[in-house]
């Protein structure tokens, strides 16, 4: 049984269809990269997977005891967050918000969980610092720690390395990879960086006019991937 299954999914907004006939599944421990051109519906897909947006058709099914609210999420940064006066501690702790239900405050376990995740992301020294004063890479690690507070099973990342310098980028990729390999957390990541996708992921979902879903090796052998890779080289 897969953690997440998409069955004949059609995506879009305001009645305009962007993608249709999406069929894929994510099993526990997978590392799936979603690639595709700008505007091909990657972020819309992610929002649909999270239940933030209803699909135009088809179904998103969760399995293996995964509840929708147990998916950790690393969104693209919003304008609001850039100058938000909040400490690292406050932000990471807010990842536990889905667990509290109607209880107004966080309990000991949740605080301990936040502390563990801060340490895991190597942010222990920055716990009391203000979020907006951190570097881009540090900010992403804070949001990753927050996502880990919301899940033990699966994280969805929406272009996590956008705007980072190469060093911070590689560090973040390593961190995500270690979460996948060592902690067994299922990773679904949107990325433009096809090289990193081929290095880290074991499954690839390519969306656009045509859709490909399969393992990395299958993807590399498909003619369609090769044209995309060539096209990428030609442009870049």
């Amino acid at each position: 049984m897969a953690l997440l299954t998409c069955h004949d999914l059609a995506l879009g907004y305001e009645g305009q269809q962007i993608v249709q006939g999406l069929n894929f599944s994510v099993k526990a421990g997978d590392y799936l990269c979603i690639i595709g051109e700008n505007g091909s519906g990657k972020t819309t897909l992610m929002k649909t997977l999270l239940g933030l947006q209803a699909p135009l058709g088809g179904k998103v099914l969760t399995g293996d005891g995964l509840r929708h609210s147990e998916i950790g999420y690393l969104p693209q940064q919003t304008l609001v967050q850039r100058d938000f006066p909040a400490s690292v501690w406050e932000i990471v702790l807010s990842g536990c918000g889905g667990r509290t239900g109607l209880r107004p405050f966080y309990n000991k376990d949740e605080k301990a969980l936040a502390k563990r995740n801060i340490e895991k992301m190597g942010l222990a020294k920055l716990t009391r610092r203000c979020y907006r004063e951190l570097s881009g890479g540090q900010q992403q690690r804070v949001l990753l720690a927050r996502a880990l507070c919301a899940t033990r099973k699966m994280i969805l990342l929406d272009e996590p390395v956008a705007g980072l310098d190469p060093k911070a980028m590689n560090e973040l990729y390593e961190l995500i990879l270690s979460l996948n390999r060592e902690d067994g957390i299922t990773v679904v990541m949107i990325t433009h960086d096809i090289e990193a996708a081929l290095r880290c992921a074991d499954h690839i979902l390519h969306i656009g006019r045509e859709v490909f879903f399969g393992t990395k090796d299958e993807y590399l052998q498909s003619a369609f991937a090769q044209s995309f890779l060539k096209g990428g080289e030609g442009n870049g």
């Binding site: 929002k47 933030l52 609210s69 999420y73 969104p75 807010s94 919301a150």
Partner: protein, 284 residues
Amino acid sequence: MAELFDKLSLYLQYPFVRYALIVGVLIALCSSLLGVTLVLKRFSFIGDGLSHVAFGAMAVGAVVGLTNEMPLVLAVTVISAVLLLRTGQNTRIKGDAAVAMISVGALAIGYLLMNLFSKSSNLSGDVCSTLFGSTSILTLSQAEVWLCVALSVLVAAVFVFFYNKIFSVTFDEAFARATGIRAGLYNLLIAIVTAVIIVLAMNLVGSLLISALVIFPALSAMRVFKNFKAVTVCSALFSVTCALIGLLTAILAGTPVGSTIVAVDILGFLIFCLIGRVKGGIKA
């Protein structure tokens, strides 16, 4: 100086002065609590917009001849607040434009109605006092004070109880929603509480100056503090202090209450800017 204190203690013997102080402090407290969230959500102008809606509703109430306009004004304002804050990012008319549209629209219609149908002989005086608050805070009845106390306590309680959820929803609505926090519900709550505060605050500073009560404490606190809790606490203290100083000054010097409070807020903001600058300078 002693003379001033004598004058003050004389004034404080009048119940209406005490009422004004109590209500003023409570309103300042509530508006500053919500202010932090509203400013961060880029809704600084919602106070302005909603207060104009309240003005319009008040005008309609006056024209229809209601003796107690409060329920109508409150209902209309709450509905507008819900509509405005609900829109979010995926609407045709963006947040700021929607606020501006409703704000001027309600102001114009309100004034038009008052002009066409008013039985009062001092129309411009009426309008001016609704817009700038004038003296109505000094003419509160005991019942109004109790209503205000009850609503303020409710607002503060809601804020404390849902503090962590409000933080999550303000910082990152998509994440909050994805992890099972009912963001829609909390946005609705924020909208309703905002409307209640604005209707309350109209007595204090009037329609035109309400934004000041919402914005200045939050912005001042953000100059100096860098985590959400400190900013919230500081903005509450800032707002209460400024309201007290403003009210006392207005009573002693006979200046208009609303604009005096706002003037003190501006002064406070400048001081906090300076503190922030100095603090930042030391660190750098």
